[in-house]
Symmetry: C2
Subunit: 404 residues, 2 copies
C-alpha cells in the first residue's frame, strides 16, 4: 500500500534546494554553535505555512504570515537562541531586517523570504550581529548537502537533529519530499514549540500545497503533546519548486492522494522525533481513543489523558494507574458514559465497563515498564476515533525547566 520509500537526508533531498547554517553569536551559552539556518530553492518556488494559534505571536510569525501572500517564495531563514517574541515594534523591525539581509545576499525580494525564530521570549534580537553574519557568510554557507547543518542550527534544548525524507513516483517522474524540525519542551497540539521546514520538487500550485500541508500538520504536529503548553513561535513552512517536471498535481486525483500520503508520513516522522526527544522524556505513549460519538469527543478525551499531569507522573513511575485515566476522561468535556468505557494497555484489557478488568495487575505493570506503549480507550458510543502521541512527566523534566 505504501507508495513511497524512505530515503536519507532532509530539506536538500528534493532537487534544486540548498541549505546551510552560520554563526552569528545569538546564544551566549553555546558561543561556538551555528544559530542561523537558511533553506533556499535555486529556482522559483511556491510556499505554504501553518502557524501557532497562540494570540501572543512572535514577530517572525507575523512577518511570515504577511510574506506568505507572495506568489513566489525562495527562501526561509530561522534563528535559534532568541524567539523574538514579546518584543513589540522593534521585534517586527528585526524580523524584517533579518529577511532583508537574506534577500540582499541571495538577490531576492524581501517578500520572497520567510522568517522564523526560536528561543527565549522577551529579549531583542542581536540584529547587527545577525546582519553582519548573513552579509559576510551566507554566500558560501548554502549547499546541496546542507540539510543537517540547517537542522543543527535550529536546535535549542533538542539533543538530536531531526530530518526525514521520502521518494515516490508521480505521473512517472521521481519526486522527493524532505524536512527538518526542532522542538523539545512546550509541545502541544495547535502546535508544538517547534519549527518544521519541508521541501519538495513536486509540481503543485500554491493553493493545493497549502491544502496538503494543512492536512499533514493536522495529522502529525497537531497530535503531539508533551506538557500542554503552546508556543508563540510554532511554525511549519513548506516550499515546492516543481523541478520534478511531472504533470501538475490536481485536487482529488490519485497522484495527489499519494503525494498527500507521503507528505503526511514525513510530517509524522518528524513529529514523533520531537516527542521522543522531549525534555526529560523516558516514555513515548500513544493514546488512542475510539468509539467516540464524534471526532471532537474522541479528541477531547485523548488530549485530556495526554495532558494529565497525574497520569504522566504515574507512567514515569511505571504505575498504570487507570483511575487517573478515567478521571481525565471524565473531566475532558467529551460525551461519555462511565459504565461503557473500556481501557487497554498494549491490547491488555485493564478496564471493562468502567471498572477493573480481570487482567492481572502485574501484566499491566509490565507494559508500563516499557519505553513505548499504547493506551487504547473505547468509549463505546460511536465510530469516531483520534490518536495523540505524548510522553511521561519526569523529575528530569522539572529540573530542565526550573530555570534558564
Amino acid at each position: 500500500m505504501q507508495s513511497f520509500t524512505e530515503i536519507a537526508g532532509g530539506v536538500t533531498a528534493p532537487g534544486s534546494f540548498v541549505a546551510g547554517s552560520l554563526y552569528a553569536g545569538i546564544k551566549a551559552a553555546n558561543a561556538s554553535r551555528p544559530d542561523i539556518a537558511v533553506i533556499a530553492s535555486t529556482v522559483p518556488a511556491v510556499a505554504a505555512g501553518t502557524f501557532t494559534t497562540n494570540k501572543v505571536k512572535a514577530a517572525p510569525v507575523r512577518v511570515s504570515q504577511a510574506h506568505l501572500r507572495s506568489a513566489e517564495t525562495h527562501a526561509i531563514v530561522a534563528n535559534s537562541g532568541n524567539a523574538n517574541a514579546c518584543t513589540g515594534v522593534v521585534g517586527i523591525e528585526h524580523a524584517k531586517r533579518t529577511v532583508h539581509a537574506v534577500a540582499s545576499a541571495l538577490g531576492l525580494r524581501d517578500r520572497q523570504v520567510l522568517v522564523c525564530s526560536t528561543g527565549r521570549i522577551g529579549v531583542p534580537l542581536p540584529i547587527e550581529k545577525m546582519e553582519a553574519a548573513l552579509e559576510a557568510k551566507l554566500g558560501t554557507a548554502l549547499g546541496e548537502e546542507g540539510s543537517q547543518a540547517a537542522a543543527e542550527a535550529i536546535m535549542t534544548s533538542d539533543t538530536v537533529f531531526k530530518e526525514a525524507a521520502v521518494e515516490l513516483k508521480l505521473h512517472g517522474k521521481r519526486v522527493r519530499i524532505g524536512g527538518i524540525a526542532k522542538g523539545a519542551g512546550m509541545i502541544d497540539p495547535n502546535m508544538a514549540t517547534m519549527l518544521c521546514f519541508i521541501t519538495t520538487d513536486a509540481v503543485i500550485d500554491k493553493k493545493l500545497l497549502q491544502q496538503a500541508l494543512s492536512e499533514a500538520v493536522e495529522n502529525s504536529f497537531n497530535r503531539i503533546t508533551i506538557d500542554g503548553d503552546m508556543s508563540t513561535n510554532d511554525t511549519v513552512l513548506m516550499l515546492a519548486n516543481s523541478t520534478a517536471g511531472h504533470t501538475p498535481l490536481a485536487a482529488g486525483d490519485r497522484e495527489f492522494a499519494r503525494f498527500q500520503n507521503a507528505l503526511t508520513h514525513v510530517a509524522t516522522t518528524l513529529a514523533r522525533m520531537i516527542v521522543e526527544d522531549g525534555e526529560g522524556v523516558t516514555k513515548f505513549v500513544t493514546i488512542q481513543v475510539r468509539g467516540g460519538r464524534s471526532r471532537q469527543d474522541a479528541r477531547k478525551a485523548a488530549e485530556a489523558i495526554a495532558n494529565s499531569v497525574l497520569a504522566k507522573c504515574a507512567w514515569f513511575g511505571g504505575d498504570p494507574n487507570w483511575g487517573r485515566i478515567m478521571d481525565a476522561i471524565g473531566y475532558s468535556s467529551a460525551r461519555i458514559r462511565e459504565e461503557m468505557i473500556d481501557i487497554y494497555f498494549d491490547g491488555l484489557i485493564t478496564v471493562k465497563n468502567g471498572m477493573a478488568a480481570s487482567t492481572p495487575f502485574q501484566k499491566v505493570v509490565e507494559v508500563v515498564a516499557k519505553p513505548r506503549f499504547t493506551i487504547t480507550v473505547d468509549l463505546h458510543l460511536g465510530e469516531a476515533e483520534h490518536t495523540v502521541f505524548t510522553t511521561d512527566l519526569s523529575t528530569r523534566y522539572v529540573e530542565l525547566n526550573m530555570g534558564e
Copy 2:
C-alpha cells in the same frame, strides 16, 4: 468591616454538633490510623452540597446527590483510603450500606445520612470491615470535641489536618460556622480532589443554605488549582441546625450578607490550607488577572497561567520567566491584545505593553525566591477581574505522584 471573629475548632464549634473518627482497616499502609469520620447534628438539620463536575462520579457522590433531596439531614460519613470510584453497581451498594450502618447506629433514616469517600480509584470498599466498625464503635466515637479527630480521619496525602471556624452575631444571637477539609494532589477549580464539611447553628432554610454554600464554593474551592486535574469524588457538604435560635435569615437581608461573608471566609481559609499543603509544594502563588473584557476572560487567563506546567516549573526554580506567562495568556482563549498586557510580581512591573519593563531582573528574581508571591496581570481591555491560588511544580511533586 469584618463582622466575624476567627475562633479555634472546626465542625463541632457550632452548637449541637458532634464528630469523631474510628478505625475500620481500609488503608493497608497506615493500618493504625482512623479511616472513617462521622459528623452529626444532635437535632434535625438541613443540608446543602456541591459536587465534582467530572462525568466519572464516585458512587458516594451519586448517593449523596440523591440523599440531599431529603428535607432533613442529620449526619455525614466519610472514609479515606478508598475512593469507591469506578466500582459500578457494587460501589453504589457499598455507599448505601455505609449510609445504612451509620443510620442504624444513630437511629436515623438512611436518606438523612450523606456519604463521601477519598483515596485510590477502582478498588471495592472493604464494606464488611466498615459495617463491623461502625456497628461496634460509632455509638461511643462521637463527641463535642471530635472535630480534629474527624479532620484527621479524612486525610490521605495531606500532611496536616485542616479546620477553621468563625463566630458572629446575627439578629443579636451568637452564631458559629466551622469546617474541616482534606485535599492535596489533583486540586483544580470545579473542584479539588477534596472533601470539605461545614456546620453552622444559624437559622437558615435549605434553599438559602444551598445558595450561600454555592456562592462560598465559587469564591474559594473553585479558585484553587495545583495540577489541573479534577477528581471523581470532590464534595463540599454543609449542615445547618438552627440551634442559635435567631430570626431566620432571609435572602437579600443584611444579616444574610454577613453570614455569607463569614461562610466564604471559612471556605477560603480551608481552600488556602489545601493549596499550601499540596503535594511537594514549595511556593504559594496568587494569580490576579484584571482588566478583562469579561469575568470569563479574566478567569481563563488566570487559570491558564495557574495550570501552565512550564510556568510552575520556573517558579519552583525561582525563575520569573514572564515569557511563559505571556505564552499561557496567549493560548488561554481569553480575549487579549498582546501589546496591552502588563505583568507585575508583587507589585513590581515586569512586563509593560507586552514587553520587558525596566525593572531590574534581579528584583523580580527576589520576589520569586519568596515562598509566597502574587502575579498580577492587567489585560487593559475592561473592568473584569479574577483571582486564583496555585503552587509551583516541584521534582518532589513528581516523585510523590509516580506510583502508589
